[in-house]
């Protein structure tokens, strides 16, 4: 049985350039899983970007020193596929009856294909959105699960004019993504436009009912002496029967000396 709550997937990741991997996501997560950092696979930084992983493995020089950034090929010259990367890891999870498991990506730049144990799910475009995949039904019976993610760069990475300029040729503005990556007066262009799984990845186990995005609001009266805390939440029943629930809210504050008031 899995413990209720979140487990970060932030270690043991591998990465490889998509053009150097002849396998599909289905093969990578069934019969041909990479076994370790053997070429073309390398240890990956997740969360992080493709360039972060390449710098970590010294495949490219660190762009923050001297003119090293000039030695790194820009996506405009290399093409998007050069910075389209596979990321691979495994995770253990065995659910008991009526438990559910979500695979959560808090942010990916810019779009991706996810494969879990040979099943494909898509992460639509957009750098600033969370993705929540219900993987309950595709987990491995033995608890050992294989995860591969093919991350695609922004759709409009743009080209840096010879004279640079704020935001390069501004093509990046066609996407919903960070705009500084084509360069600004205070930073040179980022060669991969920050492509990657740039925020946390986690698995999240729940029972039949899930709490979604609670919203807390305070209203104030009498010169801030009388205060009300309003809490709204979405609840999702993922079971096949009516769920009779007790919903609890508790507010505690840490007083001096670590004494808690309930």
């Amino acid at each position: 049985m899995a413990k209720i709550g979140k487990v970060l997937l932030d270690s043991g990741w591998l990465a490889a350039r998509s053009t150097e991997v002849d396998l599909t996501g289905i093969q990578l997560t069934t019969t041909h899983a990479p076994s370790g950092p053997d070429s073309p696979w390398m240890e990956a930084s997740v969360p992080g970007t493709v360039l972060g992983t390449l710098v970590k493995n010294k495949v490219v020089p660190d762009p923050f020193y001297g003119l090293e950034n000039e030695a790194i090929i820009d996506i405009a010259d290399s093409g998007r596929e050069h910075y389209t990367f596979w990321f691979f890891t495994t995770f253990e999870c065995k659910l008991s009856g009526n438990q559910h498991l979500d695979l959560n990506f808090r942010a990916v730049n810019y779009s991706a294909e996810v494969y879990v144990n040979g099943h494909q799910k898509l992460l639509p475009a957009g750098m600033f959105r969370r993705h929540c995949l219900d993987v309950t039904d595709i987990l491995s019976p033995n608890g050992h699960n294989l995860l591969a993610v093919l991350v695609h760069p922004p759709d409009h990475p743009g080209r840096i004019p010879p004279r640079g300029g704020q935001g390069g040729d501004h093509e990046i503005g066609k996407d919903v993504a960070t705009q500084y990556v084509e360069g600004w007066d205070w930073i040179a262009p980022i060669r991969d436009r920050n492509t990657g799984i740039w925020d946390e990845v986690s698995i999240y186990a729940t029972g039949p009912v899930k709490i979604v995005d609670p919203h807390l609001v305070a209203t104030f009266y009498d010169g801030y002496k009388r205060v009300y805390l309003h809490a709204t939440t979405e609840l999702e029943n993922r079971s096949a029967w009516v769920a009779e629930c007790n919903l609890n809210i508790q507010v505690t504050s840490e007083l001096e000396g670590g004494i808690f008031m309930v």
């Binding site: 969360p47 992080g48 009526n98 639509p124 957009g126 750098m127 600033f128 959105r129 969370r130 409009h156 300029g165 704020q166 935001g167 040729d169 501004h170 990046i172 503005g173 066609k174 996407d175 919903v176 960070t178 705009q179 500084y180 600004w184 930073i187 980022i190 920050n194 740039w198 925020d199 039949p208 009912v209 709490i211 995005d213 609670p214 919203h215 807390l216 305070a218 104030f220 801030y224 009388r226 205060v227 009300y228 805390l229 309003h230 809490a231 709204t232 609840l235 999702e236 029943n237 029967w241 009516v242 769920a243 009779e244 629930c245 919903l247 609890n248 809210i249 508790q250 507010v251 504050s253």
Partner: protein, 237 residues
């Protein structure tokens, strides 16, 4: 008085929205920006127990009781802020992001944000050409009392005022922009340090996006007109 349980019945496959009856506090410790008082934080936890099962899910968040107001001053044209009814002189810093390869870490955020507090600043402005900052960034702004001005992903240079003039109508997919904006608001909205959402840097977003953001970011009338009413459950679409 700060513990409450409500019974909810949810049919198979249903997703609904539930609002607890408001919890009453008398003279709670308020959250204040850096230099104005303590950043008192309460731990709010919500859990759901299912009959015949046990605890099915739980959630918790550090929350600060504070009221932030801001408006354009007619005399100067500048934006004036008040926190808990007290006017505050904003001493702010620009923020783009921690690291150009997005090697973002709690430790780096804590160091950078405490540095801003030590410099006696009380606001950080997250520039529209950077990121919607992450929950860890906001956590340390909650802890050290830095108000946050968070811009969405529009800049004058790239969206209609640059040289060459480009993207006068912003990004190609407005629905995607609004989906990202709504999801970002849900990710960050409970942080007491979040003071102001701003459409973009030196540029107003395209009218349809700007109108939608203004509409979505209004406080729900339930909270505006709250009359100490009871429980309140409504189906979400």
């Amino acid at each position: 008085e700060h513990l409450q349980t409500q019974h909810v019945s949810i049919t198979a496959g249903q997703r609904l929205q539930f609002t607890f009856p408001a919890l009453f506090f008398y003279k709670p410790n308020l959250w204040w920006p850096n230099g104005m008082g303590k950043q008192s934080l309460y731990n709010v936890s919500i859990s759901v127990d299912v009959k015949g099962y046990r605890e099915s899910d739980s959630w918790s968040q550090l929350f600060g009781f504070r009221k932030i107001e801001s408006y354009i001053d007619s005399a100067t044209g500048g934006r004036l802020f008040k926190v808990n009814g007290q006017p505050i002189f904003i001493r702010g810093g620009n923020w783009i992001l921690s690291d150009g390869l997005l090697r973002l870490s709690r430790r780096r955020y804590q160091t950078d944000i405490k540095f801003h507090a030590d410099m006696n600043l009380n606001m950080i402005r997250c520039w529209g050409g950077g990121l919607a900052e992450r929950p860890e960034f906001y956590h340390y702004c909650d802890v050290y009392g830095l108000l946050v001005w968070q811009e969405f992903w529009i800049t004058g240079d790239v969206d209609g005022r640059g040289d060459p003039v480009s993207n006068p109508n912003g990004p190609l997919d407005h629905e995607l922009f609004l989906l990202c904006a709504r999801d970002t608001v849900k990710l960050l909205r409970n942080h007491p340090s979040l003071a102001l959402w701003v459409g973009g840097n030196e540029q107003v977003p395209p009218p349809d996006i700007n109108d939608a953001l203004k509409n979505d970011l209004k406080l729900h009338p339930h909270f505006e007109n709250f009359q100490e009413s009871g429980k309140y459950v409504q189906e979400s679409s």
